[in-house]
Amino acid sequence: EPEVTQTPSHQVTQMGQEVILRCVPISNHLYFYWYRQILGQKVEFLVSFYNNEISEKSEIFDDQFSVERPDGSNFTLKIRSTKLEDSAMYFCASIQIGYSGANVLTFGAGSRLTVL
């Protein structure tokens, strides 16, 4: 079964450092997402991305965050100047356009970010 692949699985960084989380979506999927989940809390939407541009973003996704698809396969989330409260699981997800019914997300296993 096709998978969404995320790297790294766990990253520890110092406050103020930049972090890049990487995702390889399923090859025929065209709509991509980043979600975040702080320990013990719900899965929060950050941003969606289609046709090489941001489609929608939440209020969490401020100027500290950016996304890009640099090479047609990887989809990255960059967090500039990390803060303690950025510690969370970050999930990449993708959708196959054209699915009948409501769109269904396929998630990666997540990248755990720990900011010290």
């Binding site: 969404v4 929060e44 929608e56 999930f91 019914g101 409501a102 997300l105 990666g108």
Partner: protein
Amino acid sequence: LAKTTQPISMDSYEGQEVNITCSHNNIATNDYITWYQQFPSQGPRFIIQGYKTKVTNEVASLFIPADRKSSTLSLPRVSLSDTAVYYCLVTGAGSYQLTFGKGTKLSVIP
């Protein structure tokens, strides 16, 4: 977006059938109901989707009454490995706004 309400948590013994109900009073005509399962430290995983009446797959059944203001996810004969958080999402056909609520934490007890 239709607001959903689920119980925060449920406990069940192994081997029992578990029914988790989601309320969505303001569901729109073109909205579908989708359930996801999330194990600890993993991403949510699609379980089942329906529009009306009953849908069944190898994992679960989804019951949707005629008014569609609620839906019930039914897990037959749960095992310890079914311990997870279950999320109910209500989204329009073709919508790309996919927002998760707090979900229902199911704990299966031996």
